[in-house]
């Protein structure tokens, strides 16, 4: 890693937090996509059998 100078800890902390939150956002968004898709499939299946 290149020399980040005297304030390296703050630079690394900033990037760490940003990447953590960003990856968290991506993860939550994608998991929601699948969660709702599965929920819709389950309800549509029920409607076909139940109706």
């Amino acid at each position: 890693m290149i020399d980040l100078g005297p304030h390296a800890t703050f630079i690394i902390a900033a990037y760490a937090i940003v990447s953590l939150v960003t990856i968290g956002l991506v993860g939550v968004t994608i998991s929601n996509v699948f969660r709702q898709a599965r929920r819709l499939e389950r309800l549509e299946a029920e409607r076909k059998t139940g109706a």
């Binding site: 290149i2 100078g5 005297p6 630079i11 960003t22 968004t29 898709a37 309800l43 409607r47 139940g50």
Partner: protein, 256 residues
């Protein structure tokens, strides 16, 4: 009162954005946006760390700017998008406008929070404290409060369809107030700190800083558009599922 009838306008614009149509054409955008944002992040980070010199004034801490400025920009851009969606909900009665507004609010809050955290991490080595009541940072903090208010209002409504229009009104009221808040905070800032020799976004950035800054900003913006698209698709699916659930409950009541 006389012949008051609501006909759904069927020009191509609302046709294109009809939930069913939206789900079809937006599916094609997911992978291109995803790949583009990964490439942009890779290039941006490479520039940020390996290919740009330290700033003669800020030193190495300028690299924090490469994540702070994009988030600060996105917190404004996202509110702008929500304001346009609010007008879409209230004025053009656009079917997807409230979905877009609801999908954008939490993202806006997250980007604003990141802007605040990176701003204070940048402030510590530069100003010596984690929080300096600097004009720009204070405005960003107030914007964060407005985002929280909007999300809270969304969640307090049970009936999401009615919530959409009411939240749209608050979004527009907020949009009108943001410039006033910015102006008053800057005025307040000059009151208490006659001059900070160092504005948060620094003097005119030399070329070597512009490229990483621009690439990272583009990367974050593309990521935001992708996440916004995905959240809109999730909201459409959720509303379809909710409707089926209502039918199931109604059927069960009739049956019981």
């Amino acid at each position: 009162m006389t012949d008051q009838s609501e006909t759904i306008s069927s020009n191509w614009f609302s046709q294109l954005a009809h939930p069913g149509m939206f789900m079809r054409w937006s599916a094609y955008l997911i992978w291109p946006l995803g790949l583009l944002s990964i490439v942009l992040f890779a290039v941006g980070l490479w520039f940020a760390f390996f290919h740009s010199p330290a700033d003669y004034q800020m030193g190495e801490t300028v690299r924090i700017m490469y994540v702070h400025v994009p988030n600060a920009w996105l917190s404004q851009f996202c509110y702008g998008l929500m304001a346009v969606s609010a007008v879409g909900t209230l004025v053009w009665r656009h079917p997807m406008a409230d979905v877009s507004m609801k999908a954008a609010a939490p993202l806006g809050a997250a980007f604003t929070a990141m802007a605040l955290v990176t701003g204070s991490l940048w402030g510590r080595p530069t100003w010596g404290t984690f929080w300096e009541w600097d004009g720009r940072m204070t405005s960003t903090l107030i914007l964060f409060l407005i985002y929280l208010g909007l999300i809270a209002l969304w969640r307090t409504f049970e009936d999401q369809l009615r919530a959409a229009k009411v939240v749209a009104v608050l979004t527009l009221v907020g949009a009108v107030n943001i410039p006033i808040i910015k102006f008053s905070v800057d005025w307040w800032n000059t009151l208490h700190q006659p001059s900070t020799f160092f504005r948060a976004d620094g003097p005119k950035a030399p070329a070597s800083i512009i490229t990483p800054l621009l690439t990272m900003t583009l990367a974050f913006t593309v990521l935001f558009l992708l996440l916004h698209l995905l959240r809109m698709r999730t909201e459409v699916t959720k509303r379809k599922a909710d409707r089926l659930e209502h039918l199931k409950i109604a059927r069960q009541q009739k049956g019981a």
